[in-house]
C-alpha cells in the first residue's frame, strides 16, 4: 500500500516545538472561532466522504456499511465537539459563593501541549474522537498513530490543512509507541499525555518518566469500531482532563 514514516524522538521533539509555538495563538482565538474551525473540519471531511469510505474498505478491511458508518460518525463527532467550544466553560466553570464581598469565578483554561497515543481500532473515528476534545478548549495536540491503517491519519491531515486550522495546533506522527513513549513521558515541555489502550509497560514508563515534570496523565481503554461509533464515546468529560481550573477573586464594586 505505502511506506509509512516511522517517527523518531527527534520528530517528536520538533512536533513539540511546533505545538508550543502554535498553542498560545490557538487558545487566544475566541471559543466561537475554534468551534467554527472544528465545524469546518467536519465539512471538509464530508466533502471527501467517498474517498475515506473506500480507503477504510481497502486499507482497514471494513465492509462498505461499516466504513460509511465510521466516516459519518467522525463527521458528526467533529460537529458535536464544535458545539461544545463555547459551552464547556459554562458547564465546568462556576460562580462560587464566598463569605466576603467578592465575585469568585472558576474557569477552565487549556492545559497547553498534549501528546496523545491514539487508538489502534477505528483508524479514522478513534483519531477524531481523541483529537477533537483536546483541541476544542485551546490545547495543541501531537497525535501518535500506530495502527494497521495509518494512511487514514495522513489523509485526515489534509482535511485539517484545508480547514483554517492554524499550523502546529495538530501534529500527526506515525510511528511506534514503544519507541516514543519514554521520550513523550519525559519531555518537560509536554503538559499532558493521553494514552488510549496503553499496555501495562507503556503505562508504567509514561507515569515514571512524567512524574518529574508532573505531566498530567490520562489513560483510556481502546474500543471496538462499533463502540467508538456509539454516543458513549463522545463526552464533554473528555474535554475536562486537558483543562486547568483558574479561580479569580474580584472585589464587588459600589
Amino acid at each position: 500500500m505505502a511506506n509509512i514514516c516511522r517517527a523518531s524522538r527527534k520528530d517528536f521533539r520538533d512536533a513539540v516545538v511546533a505545538a508550543r509555538d502554535a498553542q498560545e495563538g490557538w487558545a487566544g482565538r475566541s471559543a466561537f472561532n475554534r468551534g467554527q474551525i472544528l465545524y469546518r473540519m467536519g465539512e471538509m471531511l464530508e466533502s471527501r466522504r467517498p474517498a475515506f469510505v473506500s480507503e477504510l474498505a481497502d486499507v482497514a478491511g471494513y465492509d462498505r456499511d461499516e466504513a460509511e458508518a465510521e466516516v459519518d460518525a467522525a463527521i458528526d463527532r467533529l460537529v458535536w465537539y464544535a458545539g461544545w467550544s463555547d459551552k464547556f466553560a459554562q458547564v465546568f466553570g462556576s460562580v462560587n459563593p464566598v463569605a466576603s464581598s467578592h465575585f469568585d469565578f472558576t474557569v477552565p483554561e487549556p492545559t497547553g501541549v498534549v501528546a496523545a497515543f491514539t487508538p489502534r481500532q477505528a483508524p479514522l473515528l478513534g483519531l477524531v474522537s481523541c483529537m477533537a476534545p483536546i483541541i476544542v478548549s485551546g490545547n495543541a495536540a501531537i497525535l501518535i498513530v500506530e495502527n494497521d491503517a495509518p494512511t487514514l491519519a495522513l489523509d485526515l491531515a489534509e482535511v485539517l490543512e484545508t480547514s483554517d486550522l492554524p499550523g502546529g495546533v495538530v501534529n500527526i506522527l506515525t510511528g511506534q509507541r514503544e519507541e516514543l513513549r519514554g521520550h513523550v513521558g519525559g519531555h518537560r515541555d509536554v503538559d499532558a499525555v493521553l494514552s488510549v489502550g496503553a499496555s501495562t509497560e507503556e503505562r508504567t514508563v509514561l507515569e515514571e518518566e512524567g512524574a518529574e515534570s508532573v505531566t498530567r496523565m490520562e489513560f483510556r481503554p481502546d474500543r471496538s469500531p462499533a463502540e467508538w461509533r456509539s454516543e458513549e464515546s463522545a463526552s464533554p468529560y473528555w474535554i475536562a482532563p486537558f483543562v486547568e481550573f483558574k479561580t479569580t477573586w474580584h472585589p464587588v464594586g459600589r
Binding site: 521533539r13 513539540v16 521520550h183 519525559g186 519531555h187 518537560r188 515541555d189 518518566e209 518529574e212 515534570s213
Partner: protein, 303 residues
Amino acid sequence: MQPPFQSEYRPPKVPTVDAVAARERAQRLSTRSIKTEAKVQGLKMLVGMLDLTTLEGADTPGKVRSLCQKARTPDSDHDSPSVGAVCVYPPMVPVARKQLRGTDIAIASVASYFPSGQAAIDERVEEVERVREAGADEIDVVMNRNAFLSGRYGQVHDEISALAEASGEAHLKVILETGELETYDAVRLASQIAIDAGADFIKTSTGKITPAATMPVTLVMLEAIRDHYLDTGEAIGMKPAGGIRKAKRALRYLVMVKETLGDAWLTPDRFRIGASSLLNDLLLQLEKERTGRYHSKRYLSLG
C-alpha cells in the same frame, strides 16, 4: 560644507573572494556531527564565549540587572560557567558595573552612535570616551558605512583609528554591519581596514538589520584574520552577532573557527558570539545532555 577628507591611508590590496567557494565551504563546515561529550564541551565553551546582549529602546535598569544576574549564574540549579560579557547601551554601563562587581564578566558597551554611526566623528569619539570613563571593558563601535560605500576608505580608517585611540585600554570591537556591505569582497576589504586601524575584534553586525551574521560572511572575516596573523603575527578576535539563536548553529561557528584559525582562537579572548536568546537554548541542550530528557524554556528565566 566640510572640507574634503584628507587621509594618508591607502586602501590595502586584498585578495578577491570566491563567493561560491565561500558559501560551499561554509556549508561543508555545517555538516559536522557533534554529539555527547564533545557536544557538552562545545556548549559549555559557548556559554563562556557569549556576549549576553540587550540593545533595546525599552531597556531599563531593572532589565539590565536581571540580565546581569543571568550572566553570573546562567542556570541556578547547576553550575555552568558564567558568560564572557554583558553588552548594553552606554547609559546602562554603570548599572551593569555595579551588578557585576567582583566577577570576571566583562562589561561591553556599544558606542559611536550605534547602530547607524551617522554622526560627526568628534561626537562619536566623545561617546567612546564617555563610555570608557563609565567603566566599560569592551567597546563595540560601528564602522562608517556611509564613507565605506562612497569609497572614502581613508576616512573609514582614520575614524576607526581615532575611536581606537579614544577607547584606550578597553578592547575595541569594530562592527562592519556586513548586511549593508553587499559583497564578500567589500566584507574582506572592510575587515582589513578595521584591522589596520587598530581593532582588537572585528564583529559582523549590529543585530538591527537582516541579514545579520551568516556563516559565509563570518568565514570571509576569519580568513582576513588568518591572513593578517600569518603576515604580522598579530592575533585579532572575531565576533559574529545577530541571528544566532540555536545551540546547533553556534556549534557550527565553533567548527568554522577551529578549521580556519585553529584551537588558539577557541577562547573568549579571541572569539565571542553576540546574542540574547542563544543562552537559553544552550542551557536547554546542556540539560538535555545531563538528564536525557527534553527540557522546556518555561523552567528558565527570560533573556
